[in-house]
Symmetry: C2
């Protein structure tokens, strides 16, 4: 810590997640001696309003990464692959929001409410999980601790902001054209029109793989975070015409019996979870209500009508906040609180 706070870099500061991280650092009053927005050459020199200050975006470079305690990075996999080792070598701890480091054996993949102790002994890089995984494991953790998890069948309803600002613009432009009766613009962000449509593809297909990378993340990251490679996972990741807020239908087969009412009580007591579950009164989690909030919202908690050992859940959260930025800042808080930040000069 330098002076009265930490010297923090935000890499990818002009993106949706980066901007949300900047907001949250202010909102949560993270102790800052310096806040340095970093980005690619294209964004260098841009001014970012931050509270009463105006911050100048610096191009990420050997020079601009010096003298930092912590870098919160969300600049994409290839940028992370190149710059994360350099930033760590320069003395900072990196909380990385890309998929690049998540499955590395020596990189902890951490959700603040689920496996905070995995931060201990990190070697400079801490990975922030994928959004759809993040919100789900927050809801699953209390059930896992109580009854174990044998199998998950997950279908997602993912918002376009997970893809970035351009996807939000594309959805709005398509919707505007469709309701106005004019020609819907040719899709450039997704392979097909997303407005008034549903795409059975969130993420992309690696050569010859019949699952998207998003589906693989949901399968693999869930096991790593819960520390249980035996959990069996089916995942279908779907993009829906929603701006922000991922929804998920999660079928959970537990190892030990667990009643819906027990699950509801466990979830109501769990950190980071809000139970919204009075469906007869129209109360269940919704993307529109979750957007802008930090919690994971869980509802439709019920016995699977076809399996006495399974529960059905509906899990919704803001994919930019708990699904990305909020957890990154929570990890920064934990790292700082536990004295685990690099370069603590």
């Amino acid at each position: 810590m330098a002076g009265d706070g930490y010297r923090v870099g935000v890499l990818g500061a002009t993106g949706l997640v980066g901007s949300t991280i900047l907001e949250l650092l202010a909102e949560r009053d993270f102790p800052l001696a310096e806040l340095r927005p970093l980005a690619s050459e294209r964004s260098a020199g841009k001014q970012i309003e931050w509270g009463s200050k105006s911050l100048t975006v610096q191009e990420v470079s050997e020079d601009s990464i010096q003298g930092l305690d912590l870098v919160l990075s969300s600049a994409g996999g290839s940028v992370s692959a190149e710059w994360t080792p350099k930033i760590v070598a320069a003395g900072a701890t990196v909380v990385d929001n890309t998929s690049y480091w998540r499955m590395h054996d020596d990189v902890p993949l951490v959700v603040s409410e689920v496996n905070p102790d995995a931060l201990e002994g990190h070697e400079g890089i801490v990975a922030n999980p994928n959004c759809s995984t993040m919100q789900m494991v927050v809801a699953l953790k209390p059930l896992y601790d109580a009854a174990g998890i044998e199998r998950l069948v997950i279908s997602t309803y993912q918002a376009v902001s997970g893809t970035g600002k351009a996807a939000i613009d594309a959805l709005r432009a398509e919707a505007r054209a469709a309701v106005g009766g004019s020609d819907v613009p040719k899709p450039e962000i997704y392979p097909h029109q997303i407005a008034f449509n549903v795409l059975a593809q969130a993420g992309s297909f690696a050569d010859g793989d019949d699952h998207t990378d998003e589906e693989r993340k949901l399968i693999n990251e869930t096991r790593k975070i819960l520390g249980d490679p035996e959990i069996r996972v089916s995942a279908t990741c779907v993009r829906v015409p929603v701006v922000t807020g991922h929804s998920e239908a999660v079928n959970v087969e537990t190892r030990e019996p667990l009643e819906p009412e027990q699950a509801r009580e466990l979830l109501a007591a769990a950190p980071g979870v809000t139970v919204v579950d009075d469906p007869g009164a129209g109360r269940y989690p919704m993307a529109l209500e979750a957007a802008g909030k930090d919690d994971v919202f869980v509802g439709r908690i019920r016995r699977d009508a076809g399996n006495e050992r399974a529960l059905d859940l509906w899990v919704v959260s803001d994919n930019l906040r708990k699904g990305a930025a909020t957890n990154a800042v929570q990890l920064a808080e934990l790292l700082a609180g536990r004295g685990l930040l690099g370069n603590q000069g």
Copy 2:
């Protein structure tokens, strides 16, 4: 049959499904001696353009139901409860698209490609299944015949046209306001805004039930149509901001081993099914492409990454056509072809 065709009534002729039935009777060249649109008092007297003709909607009454061979009904459960027995007593066979008669033991629940023989011995009423069930069982039937089905975990992505014209208008009005930056109108059709949102509620909750009636239909009708009460079904029915075309993520655990490639071949050869399954090239079924077509589209056919005995499928169809009107007209064709229509004077 009277003269060169059948005397056919369409009850609920001014609704979305009724209009589609009228279209399909023309499109499929059903042999008609008379076509009589029937509806509630509110719609009586309206003119319906049908090919080069103009038909006058008649109020359903003891008089207007006389002298018919067949009535295709989609006028809602309470209308069906009242009028179906009267229409049968007047001598016509009723193909009913409401949920009212579907689970009655003496009423066959029939999908033309799945269990056409159930039409034999009907007692005047034949039930047309629920849209989300209909499209799914068309895709499941060839797999069921080959390997049996132990368990299904289903998440739906249902279009608003399943609710009726007013729901389409509401979605469009909400979307127009949202993209225009004006206040989104207060929801009147659904409990919440549907534009740019996802609702974990398709259908309604009966008192004390933790599943919607739509979810119960999917569970119960699937077993009745496949004639197998042992199939275990988990169902989460979700409304999405799509105009027409229901999508479904279906996890199928078979009783005998079944490879994805075998499933793909069985589906490619199945009546009423089109396989669209080259996800790496962006080819999978989509609501926007299915709308206006009669087939059930199946893709994303793959091994469940967590269960060697399960497959994941993505099933999409036009909920107004195969999900309702097309099957009703196909049942009419089967009934006529097999000499099973009442009042065959």
